[in-house]
Amino acid sequence: MRPFEYARPQSEGEALDLLNDHDANTAILAGGTDLISLLQEDLQVPQRVVDIKNVDSMQAITADGTGVIVGALTTLEDIAEHPMLADYRSLLDVVDGTRSIQVQSMGTLGGDLCHLPNCWYFRNGYGLLGLEDGESLVASGDNRYHAVLGNQGPAKFVSASRFAPALIAWGAEVRVIGPEPTADEWLPLEQFFVTPKVQSQGISVLEPGQMISHVRLPDAQALVSSTYEVLQLEGLDWPLASAAATLDLDGGVVREARIVMGHVAPTPWTAHEAGQSLVGLPVDEETAGRAGEIAVAEATPLSGNAYKVQLARTAVKRALLGAVDKLEGAL
């Protein structure tokens, strides 16, 4: 790691103030599970690291009558244990799939949403887009873990966030604060992520000096949900593909279905048509399978990752079946 200042703000305003010094060449430290390794590899070189763990307002989970507001510093463990989140099963499925008590204790919701890609070209120093001499190393190289959707531009990495598919399927909003100490804005989480055309765009709409402070989930009502992650290992591992589904059911028949895939595109990937295909139908092997087909119909696999199309299709089918407790016979 290169030298940096360390700051320990106590409030959101103070955090933003500290983040905006040094022309905002600063980094946010929460759980540390991503940032520290980025610093170790010189993939980020901030002049100051702002440790936001002591900002109390970002720790809380509260209800506001229309839903639940979850602080960005909420850990995976907190999510799993908080009674207000017990009805959001697709979120609990993600915690359950993160098979490391260390990451469950340290990792935060905000950190997950801002986690940079595990793309090995990025991690080996070829930038977010994995370029060498202006050409994509991903396209010509080993892209077994890369995008099968939304990969026609220069970005071919997959979004690392494990919670985003579930949150988007729930219609979550995210509160972005900064850069001015009083600036704050709620926006749909779906609009938070961007597919960069150039490296400097990053993976989200966050500008320097901004951060996520909270996530709002609408009231769970009687909706049901599930996340299915295709994990090669039973322990700590990145999903090869995932899908989350949130269903509004009327007597076993779908009124509305929201399906979002993860780890298949540079952003979480909402499968609108797949969701619509279920309206008016019960969720069963056949309808869920068809929704899976529709979800990946537009897939454009790279040279070495066609298998991921099948994994994504399966994840969608299984997330749907899981949401209605009909998933059986999967490993």
Partner: protein
């Protein structure tokens, strides 16, 4: 007096040997008290960091370390590869910096300016035509036995297929490295992470211009070696040079990526094979061409043992081609190169069985006459089949169930030598009854320290804790390097010999003092007995030595029956395959393993279950992934170099094959064998479940899904 003969006790007379005895250093390891080379922090220790080449091949055109030398905290810089040197694989060390803190050493590394001129590289080890085009291939032998063409014509069943196993890294959790400290100008103390305590001193002395007698090597604990830590290595010598330059001790451990890249790899092997059998399933033909890489040297797995174990196949063509790649060099990896040979032999036999519509078990059984130990394999197969419930669970290939998840069984067989290594030990008995032993051996985690104590404690009728074990230093009598499963035999033979010689001397003293016959004496429970009655305590007996301790040297190996060699082993796997995701999960693995006389059954079983788990790793998830364009090992971190976790192992059943005939063979090494056939057994189980051979290990979701799409076994 009856002849005094060196032998192990009769099996029934043992109180310690063959029992489950927890390792002596268990608490020290589990509580963090055990000190590895990576943990040595003598006063003033500096930390080294490395500048490594990141690419396929290049020539260094410019290198400037001036700024590094001026970086605050930096005390010494060493250039491994300077201007005009060619660097030929990813991870090659260019320079090392030692500084007061690791962070300052990193600052120093960053300050080094280096310019490379790229050279062509080739890293695609599976691509034989590509390698030929790049002029990277070389023939590694081609030989014939019998008449393959005629036998193929006569055969009833013929199968042809493609098989392979990817390169893996040793990936020791404690990276390669050392802590070096000078004592004056001419004496060097090295804490080295090594499998070769007795043999590495000279490797420091030579390049440093020291007398070998002035190099002390210490290794009380080593965090994994698996065949990759026999040498001082260039970075070990450089650690000493940095320490000399700085006038302070230096610790230099490889970082994780560099450990994965240059700390040792197991060569890959890919093969096109034709196998044929007569109507009864007797294999009559083997015809193979295999290729792969060991790195720039361009070797692959040995031709001489192809096909593996089934040496007696009468008609055989075999050919090997090496590929020179710009990849980190290979080192011996646990049981070289048996796991790869097994993975491209027993899978082929299994596919032949599938083609015949036969039960794989029957085809293996029928062809055991072509192996070195048909009787042992047969017995072990019967035991294994019971343990995994083969008869009830077997189904024809591809009939693994109706849903997306298919279940299947597979098996494979292996062999190993495990002869005793050459070791000398000193056994010292003090007049107060204290017992200690000295030998320049090492405990890789196999339990050597405990085996040493058990051997002497059993001999003297003492408790395991009554023996003080001194290993891990090259000032002790020389012991074999720990590789090739030669250590347990290597140390136990000399210890038993020396122990008996010492015991007989004590018996003579006791006989004279207490007027009993020396050949009536035995040692048990801390006492010396004559015909079952207590004569005196062990302490009293040792008191008869007078003021000086008794010191005896033991040597080995000898042909006196204490040790022997040669094991067979059988493994069976029960797996489930999710055909929609390509994920393979282990339900159960069974290992039936012979290894002669077992000294500590607890640590012996640990060796076997550990072998199974390393087998699961290379069967299902771990592999080196090279990027063709950049020439880089792109998954050189533990998020992308995937190793199984605690949830990935299923149920492991370890059965030590232990009839009296095994005990009578004496001690045989066990470290290598249990890792050999796991990959083939798992691959066969996947083929049985799905009806499709996934040709190349590891069987990742990608390979499984792609093979299922192909659809053919």
């Amino acid at each position: 007096m009856a002849e005094r003969k060196v032998a192990w006790k009769a099996r029934k007379d043992n109180t310690l040997i063959g029992q489950d005895i927890p390792r002596l250093d268990g608490v020290d390891k589990a509580s963090g008290s055990a000190k590895y080379a990576a943990d040595i922090n003598t006063a003033g220790t500096l930390y080294a960091r490395l500048l490594t080449f990141k690419g396929g091949a290049a020539v260094i055109k410019a290198l400037d370390v001036a700024a590094a030398e001026k970086t605050p905290g930096v005390r010494a810089v060493h250039v491994f590869n300077g201007v005009d040197k060619e660097v030929r694989w990813d991870g090659t060390i260019v320079a090392a910096v030692a500084a007061d803190t690791p962070e300052q050493a990193e600052d120093g590394v960053r300050a080094i300016k280096v310019t490379y001129e790229a050279k062509p590289h080739f890293v695609d080890e599976e691509d034989l035509p590509g390698a030929a085009k790049a002029k990277r291939t070389k023939p590694l032998g081609d030989n014939q036995k019998g008449d393959v063409a005629a036998a193929l014509k006569a055969a009833k069943h013929v199968h042809k297929g493609y098989y392979g196993v990817a390169t893996i890294s040793h990936m020791c959790l404690e990276p390669h490295g050392s802590h070096c400290e000078w004592e004056g100008k001419d004496k060097l103390n090295v804490h080295l992470s090594t499998q070769n305590v007795s043999g590495t001193g000279g490797q420091f002395a030579g390049p440093l211009g020291l007398d070998a007698s002035n190099v002390s090597i210490t290794c009380n604990y080593i965090g994994g070696g698996f065949g990759s830590k026999f040498a001082a290595d260039q970075w070990g010598v450089v650690c000493a040079q940095l320490a000399k330059k700085a006038g302070k001790p230096v610790r230099l451990m490889l970082d994780r990526a560099t450990e994965l890249k240059i700390g040792g790899t197991r060569p890959s092997g890919f093969a096109e094979v034709t196998i044929a059998a007569d109507a009864d399933g007797n294999i009559t033909v083997w015809d193979s061409h295999h290729w792969g890489t060991s790195g720039i040297a361009g070797s692959t797995i040995a031709l001489s043992q192809t096909p593996y174990c089934f040496d007696g196949i009468p008609n055989r063509n075999r050919k090997a081609t090496g590929i020179s790649t710009n990849c980190g060099p290979n080192r011996a990896w646990r049981a070289p190169p048996h796991p790869q040979l097994c993975a491209i032999t027993d899978t082929v036999v299994d596919d032949l069985a599938a083609k015949m519509g036969a039960d794989s078990y029957d085809i293996f059984m029928k062809n055991l006459d072509k192996t070195p130990k048909p009787d042992v394999y047969a017995e072990e197969m019967k035991i294994g089949a019971k343990l995994i419930d083969w008869k009830a669970k077997w189904h024809a290939h591809g009939k693994g169930g109706k849903g997306p998840v298919k279940r299947g069984l597979g098996m494979a067989i292996h062999r190993w030598g495990g002869r005793a290594g050459a070791t000398t030990c000193t056994v010292k008995i003090h007049p107060d009854g204290a017992v200690e032993t000295f030998l320049g051996s090492q405990d890789l985690g196999t339990g050597t320290r405990t085996v040493i104590a058990i051997t002497l404690a059993e001999t003297f009728g003492l408790g395991v804790r009554d023996v003080k074990v001194n290993i891990g230093n090259n000032s002790y009598p020389k012991a074999n390097p720990s590789g090739g499963s030669i250590t347990v035999g290597g140390v136990s033979g000399p210890l038993r010999r020396a122990g008996l010689e010492a015991l007989w001397k004590i018996y003579d003293l006791v006989a004279a003092k207490y007027k009993v016959k020396a050949d009536s004496l035995s040692a048990k429970g801390g006492k010396i007995l004559s015909a079952g009655k207590t004569v005196c305590s062990w302490k009293q007996a040792c008191g008869l030595l007078g003021p000086m301790p008794l010191e005896v040297q033991g040597q080995g190996p000898k042909n006196d029956g204490l040790t022997s060699q040669g094991v067979a082993g059988v493994q069976m796997a029960d797996v489930s395959v999710d055909t929609e995701t390509g994920i393979v999960r282990i339900n159960k693995l069974v290992a039936v393993q012979d290894c002669g006389l077992i000294i500590d059954e607890l640590t012996a079983r640990s060796q076997v279950s550990g072998g199974l788990i390393m087998g699961i790793a290379y069967a299902l998830s771990e592999e080196r992934i090279m990027d063709n364009r950049t020439g880089r090992f792109i998954n050189a971190d533990l998020e992308n170099y995937k190793l199984p976790r605690i949830g990935d192992i299923g149920e492991l059943v370890v059965e030590m094959y232990q009839p009296d005939s095994e005990y009578e063979r004496g001690v045989v090494g066990l470290g290598e064998p249990p890792v050999i056939s796991t990959g083939a057994a798992i691959s066969n189980a996947v083929a049985n479940a799905t009806g499709v051979r996934v040709p190349v290990l590891p069987l990742t979701p990608q390979r499984v899904v792609e093979a299922l799409k192909g659809g053919q076994a």
